[in-house]
Amino acid sequence: MNGLPLFPRAASTIAPGVDALFTGLMVMTIVFSGLIFFAIAFFAIRYREGSKANRDNPRSESLPLELTWMLVPLGISFGFYFWGTTLFTRMHVAPPGAVDIYVVGKQWMWKIQHQQGNREINELHVPLGRPVRLIMTSQDVIHSFFIPAFRIKQDVLPGRYTTEWFQATQPGEYHFFCSQFCGTSHASMRGRVVVMEQAAYERWLAGATPGAPMATQGEELFERFGCATCHRANNTGRGPTLAGVANSTVELEGGGTAVADREYLRQSILDPAAKVVRGYKPVMPVFRGQLTPDQVAQLVEYIRSLGGPRVAAKGGAQ
C-alpha cells in the first residue's frame, strides 16, 4: 500500500492541459451542484411543513427563468466543448519528427518493436523530451493502450493501425494498461513505460539485444517472399515500383486516390485487392494469415526506407 493517492502523476506535455481541463470541469461541477444543493436545502428548511415562511403568490412558471437555465448551461457547455476539442486535436496529431515505435497487442501481452530492432514485451523504453508515436495493431481482439501518467489512451484494433503519441516530461517509470476488456487475463495485460534521458536511451538501444533494424529485417522478408519478382525497379514488373511510394498519393484502379501511409501499405500487403494502383491487375497473392503483425511492420518500414524520386507508374501514380 502506498498510502492514498488522490491525483495521478503528470509526466507528458499533454498531461497538464488535461488536468487543467479536469480542474475546470470540477469547478463547474462544484459550483452547479453547490447551487442546486444549497437551493434545495434552503427551500426544504424554509418551506417545511408548519413553518411561518411567506407563501404568498407561489409561482409555477417563469419564461425568463427557464431561458436562463437553458442558455447558461448551453453557453458553459460550449465553452467546455471548444476547450476539450482544441486539446483533443493537439492530442490527435503527432508533431513532425516523432520516434515511431510499433506495438502489437495480443491476448494477453504487449509486444513492442523499435525501428532500431530492439524488441520488448510489456515494457516500453522511450526517450525523454521527444515526441514518441505508437503505431499499434492487434493480433486478435480489441485492446487499448492506456498510459495514465501521460493521459493518453487509444484502442488497438485487429486489421488496422491506430496511433497515439506523447512526449514525456519526467524521467521515471509509469504504468501502462490494457483498458479494453480482452478476455481472461485482461487485468494482467499491463507493463511499464521507462522514460530515459536521451543518452541513457541511446545506450539502452545499443546495449540490450539489438537485432537488425526493422527495415533491414523487412528487406530480408521482401527477398524471402519473392516480392521483388514483381515489384521491380522502374515499373518494369507486374507490380508498381515501391521506391518513394511511401507517403505519396497514388491513383487507384476504379477511380479515386489514396495516400500511401502506413495503413495503406499494411492493407496492400495483407489484402492487396482492396486498393489496387491504377494500371495494375489484382494479381498479388493475399498475405493475410501468412505474415505476423511484426513482419508486416518490418515490411512497411522497409518500403518506407526506399527513398528516391517516385518513378511514374504505368497508370500514372504521382
Binding site: V18, I36, I40, Y81, T85, S179, A187
Partner: protein, 538 residues
C-alpha cells in the same frame, strides 16, 4: 373488522386466489405485481454478483475467485442489472400499475399482450439465468466483437438469445403504453393535463419501440458471425469491429434514458406531492423529457472517442452530448424551483426524491467530463465511467424506483410502510451508495481500468472504501425488502389517499378495485393543483 385486514371492499388482490388467478390474469395491476416479484429476484441475483466482485477487489491480488470467474461476475452483473432489472423496473412495475390509473382507464389498451410481455420476460430471464448457471458468460454486458463473436469460450449464444427474447417484452409493454396514453385518456384529460409520470412513460416507450429492434438485429448478427462464421464484425473474416460498437451503442445509449426518464417522472410526482405545489415549468418539464428522448438517439458515438472512430465524428458526438445535458439541467432547476414557497412534508418518498436530484446532478455533471473529448481519452474505460453511470443508474434510476415504490405502496397494497424504518433505510442507502461509488471517481482519474480482476497496490485503499460502502449499500437494500413484506400484514391501513395527492390514481380505494374506477373520472384541471386545493380546505 380487525385493523389488520383490508377486506372492506372488493379489490384486485382479493378478486381471486391461487396461482391460476395470478398466472392467467390480464389485470394490469396484477401484472405489475408479477413484474415486481421477478425484477426483485433478478435485482438480488445481480447484486450478489456485484457483492462477490467487491469482495475480490478488497485486495490487489486475485485471491477469492479466478480471473475467469471474475470476468463472468462483472458480465453477469451488468447483463442482469441492465436488462432484467433496470430497463423493466419502473416501466413494467410502476408503469403497468399506474399508467391506466393515471389516465383514468380501466386497463391498458391490450391487456393480453401485457400478460404476454411478462411471460416473454420470464422466458428470456430463465434462458439467461440457465446460461449463467451452466457456465456463464465473460464478454461484459457490451459483447464487443471480435472477442464475443470469435474468441470467447463462454455461453455467449444462450445469453444473447435470452436478451433477444427479452427485447420483445420491452416492445410490447411500450406499445401498450403508447396506445393507452393516446386513446384511453379520461374525458377532459388533455395532453397538458397529464401528470409528468405519464409524459416520462410516453417518452420512454418511444425509445423502447425504436431502439430495441436495433439491439435485436445487432445480437442476431453477432450470433450469425459466431455460429456460421459469416464475416460481419471480425476483421479476420472481412468484417468491421467498430460496426458492432456503432450498432450496440445506437441501442445502448438510448437505453440509459430508458432507465433514467421513468425515474424523472417518478421524482416529479414525489416532489410536487410532498411540496404541495404545482411542478415549476410544467411544459418545459414535459418537453425536456421528449428532448432527452430524441437527442439521446444522436449521441451514441461518445462511447467511442478512443475506439478508432474518426476524430471528426468524435467532435460531432461530443457537441451533441453537451446539448443533451441542457434538458437535464432544465429538469433539475425546475425541481428545485418547485420547492420554492411549497409546504414540504418529510415523508420517505420525498427523501428519495431529494436523494435522486443530488445524485443525478453529480452523475449528470460527470457525464460532461466524459463528453469532453480530451478528458474522455484519459478516463474512458476507467472506474470514472463506472462511478458516473452508477450515479445515474443506481443513484438516479434505483433511487427513483424505491421512492416510487414507497409513494405508491399504500395504493398498491392498501398498507402503509413503517415510516421510521423507511427513513432509516433511505439514509443507509444514501451513505452506502456514496461511499461505494465516490471513491471510484478518484480511482478512475488515477487511471484504474474497469474490468480488472487484479490491480496495482496503490489503488487498494480506495477499493477497500468502495467495498465497505457496498456492504452498507447491500444492507440498505435488505431493510426495505424486509419491512415492505412485513407491512403487507402489519402495516397501517392506508385509506384511499394518505398523501392527499391530486393524481387520478388516488381517487379510488386502496387497493384499487379490479376495474380501477367505479365511474370514469372527468378531468377539469391541470395536474398538481395543490395550492387551489389547500385554499379550498382553509
Amino acid at each position: 373488522m380487525s385493523p389488520h385486514s383490508i377486506t372492506t371492499h372488493d379489490h384486485y388482490l382479493n378478486a381471486g386466489y391461487g396461482p391460476r388467478s395470478w398466472l392467467l390474469t390480464t389485470d394490469h395491476k396484477r401484472i405489475a405485481i408479477l413484474y415486481m416479484l421477478s425484477i426483485t429476484f433478478f435485482f438480488f441475483v445481480g447484486g450478489f454478483f456485484a457483492f462477490l466482485m467487491r469482495l475480490e477487489l478488497l485486495t490487489p491480488n486475485g485471491d477469492l475467485v479466478s480471473a475467469e470467474t471474475y470476468n463472468k461476475l462483472f458480465s453477469m452483473h451488468g447483463i442482469t442489472m441492465v436488462w432484467f432489472f433496470l430497463i423493466p423496473s419502473i416501466p413494467s412495475v410502476l408503469g403497468n400499475f399506474l399508467v391506466p390509473m393515471m389516465v383514468g382507464a380501466r386497463d391498458v389498451a391490450f391487456p393480453r399482450l401485457n400478460l404476454l410481455s411478462w411471460y416473454i420476460y420470464v422466458v428470456g430471464g430463465l434462458f439467461t439465468l440457465g446460461a449463467m448457471i451452466f457456465g456463464g458468460v465473460d464478454t461484459g454486458w457490451t459483447f464487443y466483437t471480435p472477442f464475443s463473436s470469435t474468441y470467447a469460450h463462454s455461453n455467449v449464444i444462450p445469453v444473447v438469445i435470452g436478451i433477444f427474447i427479452l427485447g420483445f417484452s420491452s416492445i410490447l409493454t411500450a406499445l401498450n403504453f403508447i396506445v393507452t396514453i393516446h386513446t384511453m385518456r379520461a374525458p377532459g384529460l388533455t395532453w397538458f393535463r397529464l401528470p409528468l409520470f405519464i409524459w416520462a412513460m410516453y417518452a420512454t416507450s418511444i425509445i423502447l419501440v425504436l431502439a430495441t429492434p436495433v439491439l435485436a438485429i445487432t445480437l442476431a448478427m453477432l450470433g450469425v458471425e459466431r455460429i456460421f462464421g459469416v464475416g460481419i464484425f471480425d476483421p479476420a473474416l472481412g468484417g468491421d469491429p467498430l460496426l458492432f460498437q456503432h450498432l450496440f451503442w445506437f441501442y445502448s445509449h438510448p437505453a440509459v434514458y430508458i432507465m433514467i426518464l421513468p425515474a424523472m417522472g417518478v421524482v416529479s410526482e414525489l416532489i410536487t406531492c410532498f411540496a404541495r405545489k404545482k411542478v415549476f415549468g410544467y411544459r418545459f418539464m414535459a418537453y425536456s423529457l421528449l428532448a432527452i428522448a430524441s437527442v439521446g438517439f444522436l449521441v451514441w458515438g461518445h462511447h467511442m472517442f478512443v475506439s478508432g472512430q474518426s476524430a471528426y465524428a468524435g467532435m460531432v458526438f461530443s457537441a451533441l452530448s453537451f446539448i443533451v445535458a441542457v434538458p437535464s439541467a432544465v429538469k433539475v432547476f425546475n425541481w428545485a424551483a418547485t420547492l420554492y414557497k411549497g409546504t414540504i412534508a418529510y415523508h420517505t418518498p420525498v427523501l428519495y426524491g431529494f436523494g435522486f436530484i443530488g445524485l443525478f446532478t453529480i452523475g449528470g455533471l460527470t457525464g460532461l467530463f466524459l463528453a469532453t473529448l480530451a478528458l474522455d481519452v484519459h478516463v474512458h474505460d476507467t472506474y470514472f465511467v463506472i462511478a458516473h453511470f452508477h450515479y445515474i443508474m443506481v443513484g438516479g434510476a434505483v433511487m427513483g424506483y424505491l421512492g416510487g415504490i414507497h409513494y405508491w405502496w399504500p395504493k398498491m397494497t392498501g398498507r402503509m410502510y413503517p415510516e421510521g424504518w423507511a427513513k432509516f433505510a433511505a439514509l443507509v442507502l444514501f451513505v452506502g451508495f456514496n461511499l461505494t461509488f465516490f471513491p471510484q471517481f478518484i480511482l478512475g482519474y488515477l487511471g484504474m481500468p474497469r474490468r480488472y480482476h487484479v490491480y496495482p497496490p496503490e489503488f487498494q485503499v480506495l477499493n477497500v472504501l468502495s467495498t465497505a460502502g457496498a456492504t452498507i449499500l447491500g444492507i440498505g437494500y435488505l431493510i426495505p425488502f424486509i419491512y415492505l413484506i412485513w407491512s403487507l400484514r402489519h402495516g397501517k391501513n392506508a385509506g384511499p389517499n394518505p398523501w392527499r395527492s391530486t393524481g387520478l390514481e388516488w381517487r379510488t380505494p386502496s387497493p384499487p378495485p379490479v376495474h380501477n374506477f367505479d365511474e370514469i373520472p372527468v378531468v377539469t384541471t391541470e395536474p398538481y393543483t395543490y395550492v387551489a386545493e389547500e385554499e379550498q380546505r382553509e
